[in-house]
């Protein structure tokens, strides 16, 4: 057995229509063997359609799907070696844990002794060996998910697809399972694609994230790149929290906020000088005056929310825009009262994003479809 079990996957110009509705629009993507990629986007963005096409449950209207360089888009799902973990796990309710994991092996007519050994290996991998005789209904959500993963991996797939795998778990268990499954899939060396609408899940699980919106890929990148250098307004808005402030580009490397101050940029903005822009500043990139030199924005605190490690402060600028700020908490610090006047400054100009101001009301555009 080689170290690299995973296939590489390539999608090239994949289009898909459901009747008159275009679900996927020119999707091209390369995924390396053993890589863990998240398809992230709001519901209806086409990520599930793309997953179904990779699994073989749907044939793309146009375009190619290649596994290890071979075209598979016309091969039915039962003859592709693609493992799938469903959102509701889809364990066979009438079969024991053992038989669920053995299902794909029996379908491949593997001899009985080999099946026994393989199932035992898979159940040991997911630490479920002691529950082999149970029925799925006798398992907890996390246990069902382990069995679903063992079942998908038992057929030695080159690629594993996980469709919203953690959405059915409660919040505490979710993080544990994310850590466990990430470790398992990485250790196993299989290529995996996880579909999710939960940005935290995508950020914590994936090597690279594919952000999708309205059937198109908005940006592909590592979690750091997507967070620090979002290519589009949609990505900036979808991943993490950001403050969007109206501004005008007064020089290639200088913007004037409507809130009052001018900020020097780390890099020249691509937009023409004089155009209206949206300036994105992450809450953690804003400091309350005194900690940083330079021009400050005067604001009034509207509300303070103590969220454990940090206070989240929402404040209003003189021109009526709202700004969220993270302020680290300590037992000694007191929450800032509503109505307090603060002066805000930008900590690091490299963390500022500049986007062309969308036509019409910016707030409505930011919330996507």
């Amino acid at each position: 057995m080689t170290d690299k079990r995973g296939n590489d996957l390539a999608l090239s110009g994949v289009n898909h229509w459901f009747g008159p509705t275009q679900a996927l629009d020119g999707v091209s993507l390369r995924i390396d063997p053993g890589e863990m990629v998240a398809l992230l986007g709001p519901s209806g963005c086409g990520k599930t359609t793309l997953l179904q096409i990779i699994a073989g449950f749907l044939q793309p209207t146009e375009g190619e799907v290649l596994l290890d360089g071979g075209r598979v888009d016309h091969i039915p799902a039962n003859r592709r070696r693609v493992g799938m973990v469903f959102q509701n796990y889809a364990l066979f309710p009438h079969l024991s844990v053992f038989e669920n994991v053995a299902y794909g092996l029996r379908a491949r007519k593997m001899p009985g002794a080999a099946i026994k050994a393989k199932v035992a290996e898979m159940l040991a991998l997911v630490k479920m060996g002691h529950l082999a005789d149970r029925l799925p209904s006798q398992l907890s959500g996390g246990q069902q998910q382990r069995v679903a993963l063992a079942r998908a991996l038992a057929i030695e797939p080159g690629i594993v697809l996980l469709d919203e795998p953690f959405s059915a778990l409660d919040k505490n268990l979710r993080l544990d399972m994310q850590i466990e499954i990430k470790g398992l899939l990485k250790g196993y060396g299989v290529t995996s694609i996880i579909v999710t609408h939960d940005q935290e899940e995508a950020l914590s699980m994936a090597d690279r994230i594919v952000v999708m919106n309205r059937g198109r890929i908005e940006q592909v990148g590592t979690p750091d790149i997507l967070y620090d250098r979002p290519a589009t307004l949609f990505v900036n808005q979808f991943i993490g929290h950001a403050n969007f402030l109206q501004a005008a580009l007064v020089a290639p490397r200088r913007v004037k906020l409507e809130a009052g101050i001018e900020i020097d940029l780390a890099e020249p903005a691509p937009q023409p000088v004089g155009s209206a822009v949206l300036v994105s500043i992450r809450p953690e990139n804003i400091a309350i005056s005194g900690t940083s030199a330079g021009p400050t924005i005067p604001v009034k605190v509207r509300i303070t929310m103590p969220l454990g490690a940090a206070d989240v402060i929402e404040a209003v600028t003189p021109n009526g825009e709202t700004v969220k700020i993270h302020k680290t908490r300590s037992p000694a610090s007191k929450p800032i009262a509503s109505g307090t006047a603060l002066a805000l400054s930008v900590v690091d100009p490299t963390g500022i994003g500049i986007f062309a101001a969308p036509a019409g009301d910016p707030a409505s555009t930011l919330h996507g479809p």
Partner: protein
């Protein structure tokens, strides 16, 4: 006390049905048991003579056995016919489903006598089957289809088909599409998916349908008698003959009770056996 009065209030709306059930089922059943305990049709002395008479005569046992066999055969044929119908329904687009539902329900909307006469027209000496076979020269002379065991089984299976098809369709509709997709993704052929996923998960519906058709077929007095032409004596006709023909009320009461117990026994046995095979499957 409060709990108790609340429970009583909750049961109040069921009272009319309970009264109806009492007078149309429980009382007649008690009357039947009472009648069966008379030694003679003159209702003079009491004893278990009628039951001894039933067990003592092989003819009686054969009628009972034939009747139960008829139910088993009809229910099995209906089962085999209903699955393709159900699978077609599930696979069909909305319009197709409406049409199939209509075709399934249509027989239920017509009287049992009408449905039975339709089969007489089909199976008769001058009927559609015989005319067609003669016209195409496949048969030299009309075959006897009506008044045969096979004709009766076929007619009953068709007439009772809705009772089988509806629970099976209900079971099929409840299967999570991801289960068949998961099986497909694991490499299973359609054939394997049918036998390892779809059939086991629709077992509750199939058992429910089987029991309904069985119970309906063994008691289908009109169809049994008209398609069987009175030549095949089965329990319902036998009871009718004993009660209305020769006025043997105690014996026909005993026949009725034995028949009832036999049917309930088979229903209970099938239910008990099938429950052992329905591990993890919701009962429909």
């Amino acid at each position: 006390m409060r709990m108790r009065s609340e429970a009583m209030t909750g049961m109040l709306p069921a009272m009319p049905l309970a009264v109806l059930f009492l007078f149309s089922f429980v009382v007649p059943l008690l009357v039947l048991i009472f009648l069966s305990l008379f030694r003679t049709p003159q209702f003079t002395e009491m004893g278990f003579d009628q039951y001894a008479r039933f067990v003592g005569d092989g003819y009686n046992l054969k009628v009972l056995f034939d009747t139960l066999l008829l139910g088993v055969e009809v229910a099995l044929i209906a089962l085999v016919l209903a699955y393709p119908l159900g699978l077609a329904y599930v696979a069909a687009p909305p319009l197709g489903r409406t049409i199939i539902t209509f075709l399934i329900l249509l027989p239920l909307l017509t009287s049992s006598v009408v449905r039975t006469f339709a089969w007489i027209v089909i199976l008769g000496r001058e009927g559609i089957v015989n005319s067609a076979m003669l016209a195409f020269g496949l048969w030299d002379q009309p075959a006897r289809l009506l008044y045969t065991w096979g004709g009766m089984v076929l007619a009953l299976a068709q007439i009772q088909l809705p009772l089988m098809a509806l629970p099976i369709i209900n079971s099929l509709m409840r299967i999570d599409g991801n289960l068949t997709r998961a099986a497909e993704g694991l490499g299973a052929s359609r054939f394997r998916i049918l036998f390892t996923v779809i059939l086991p998960l629709t077992l509750p519906g199939a058992i429910a349908g089987w029991l309904l058709v069985f119970a309906a077929a063994v008691t289908a007095f009109i169809t049994q008698t008209l398609v069987g032409g009175g030549r095949i004596i089965l329990m319902p006709l036998y009871i009718y003959q004993q009660a209305m023909g020769v006025q043997e009320w105690p014996f026909s009461a005993a026949l009725s009770l034995i028949f009832t117990v036999a049917v309930i026994g088979i229903v209970a046995a099938v239910g008990a056996v099938s429950r052992r095979y329905m591990r993890g499957v919701d009962a429909a």
